[in-house]
Assembly symmetry: none
Homo-oligomer: 175 residues x 4
DNA sequence: CATGAATGAGGCTTCATTCAT
DNA sequence: TATGAATGAAGCCTCATTCAT
């Protein structure tokens, strides 16, 4: 699994299963005792990565604090995870557009985000997007996070500034 | 070319060249009269689509109007193109993450956006992101556009509302 | 034709007909107005080259001189032609082992050597190989010529010495 | 390998790898488990055949006997191998002129002939070719062997006579 | 007759998947 | 259950040959 992430991040989804097996230290045949199919592996990987990413945003969430604080916590967690797991992010970028990843997997992945979605819903309650579909708002937010992480990665010296600017943009949209 | 867009939108980048040829009404061999390589085709396609998309946002730009009006024009053009060209958008999504698309192609593509970038720069001049790198702001904007288009496509009945909400979010970020 | 020689010498028999056409300054299609088939071209080329090579050995043959003198003349002509036409030689090396060159072509080519063969027959009349089949002797001779040319080409500084050594070997075999 | 020899002898170097695989009783894909590339197969084949041929000439070489005896031994071994392995010989003829066979392979192959070359050097020590480059002499010898084998193969009834005539020619050249 | 784009069969190679050990 | 050699379908690309202009 870790192997798959590394290989897919580096080579894309067309990476041979044999190479993933090698990286994982198992034979090419053994891979298929764990995953019936390459598509299976990709789907499980997708779900797992999404879940992991979601978990990173909600652990230790200060549920008693005010909304802004909680959003800030999620924001921080998200950024930290993304920056600490560049390969995971790259792999997800590939998996996200793949035809091999089924609608069911996308469904399953979105469930991991229930808590984040709920928080988002509370945050925008009295904002400009109060009447927009929640998923739409979530998409906007995801876009902002991705852009922010991209620039923090490219220009680590000004990471702090990008972080602040990104959060500023986010908060403006929500409120 | 049009054929490639259609096939890639439907099947992804792993679509056989033979299928693209067939869709275009030419033999599999003929494809390589026009493109030396599959990668070549993908790169040219990427550059062309990006250019076309950029063109859709800046034609008839009211350069004398105030900034908000111009941003609104670009926004409208962008949305219209995206909604009218779902296959092109899908193909671009695939091409954007592909390893086959070279850095040179990305470079070339970004040149098409010079005008839009300049406008963006003017718009955020006195806004919260006035000190952020322009490309960072552009990424944020792209994220918002993509999210908006996604939801206008998924829920055409409320297209107007999504449009408005998206622009609202955009404008908030810039000013 | 000259083009074919050049290209085949450089690339072998797998050289594309299009490349030969280009070198000759005609379109790929035009080639097939002159030669029905690539195999046709190769066969004609083989016969022509063999004939040319044979001609180079017998022009101005001093038919009145003694046998050794005549053999010496053929030897000289052969060496000269081979050294002056390295591409032709290379092309012939490829054509000689090709399956595309038919038995008829080999037959036709050998006819060009009638005069040389007759001379050879006279030369060995009282020699050690007087009872061997003429073609066998011819093969031996060809082997010696080829070896000599190879070394004269590789080491032009000592060309004279190789020439002499080669002829010495030849004459020893014949007499 | 044996399959490759057979197929290449029959069809030349343009023989499909699939056909070689089939002859060997393995699938087309399996071939590439053993040889990364068709060129690889050809190079290994060339080296192996050359080595085998060289080995056939020097096994049981009577190193204590006089030079003529030793040359005779090599001659016999060479002829025997060539006559017993017509396919190997044909394959070698193709491989010898191929562009796919690299200079390194030729280098490697020539190393197999160190012993034969040394013997040759001793044999011609006081002969007419004593000052010619050894490799030149070797080429002459190879030419004679090839011619002899060709005729022994074509006309097996007189094999004995051709053998004798060939050796006679050889010995005349050396001494 | 020449052109050169188009054809399409065929070759080399890759790789997901299977299976005997 | 693990191994890794074997399978064979499929993909990219080449090139002899054809044919409309």
């Amino acid at each position: 699994m870790t192997a798959a992430i590394k290989i897919i991040a580096a080579q894309g989804l067309s990476a041979p299963t044999a190479m993933i097996g090698k990286e994982a230290g198992v034979s090419n045949g053994a891979l298929f005792t764990y995953f019936a199919t390459k598509a299976d592996l990709l789907n499980q990987l997708y779900i797992e990565l999404k879940a992991e990413m979601a978990a990173a945003t909600t652990t230790d969430l200060p549920t008693e604090a005010d909304t802004r604080e909680q959003v800030r916590h999620v924001w921080k967690g998200w950024l930290r995870w993304a920056i600490d797991h560049p390969q995971e992010r790259r792999a997800l970028a590939h998996l996200g557009v793949s035809h091999e990843v089924t609608a069911e997997s996308h469904e399953a992945a979105s469930k991991s985000y229930a808590d984040v979605a709920a928080l988002l819903d509370r945050s925008r309650a009295s904002g400009a997007l109060r009447d927009a579909p929640l998923m739409f708002v979530a998409s906007l937010v995801t876009g902002i996070v991705d852009a922010t992480v991209d620039y923090m990665t490219q220009d680590p010296a000004s990471a702090e500034k990008h972080d602040a600017a990104g959060f500023e943009a986010l908060w403006r949209i929500l409120t």
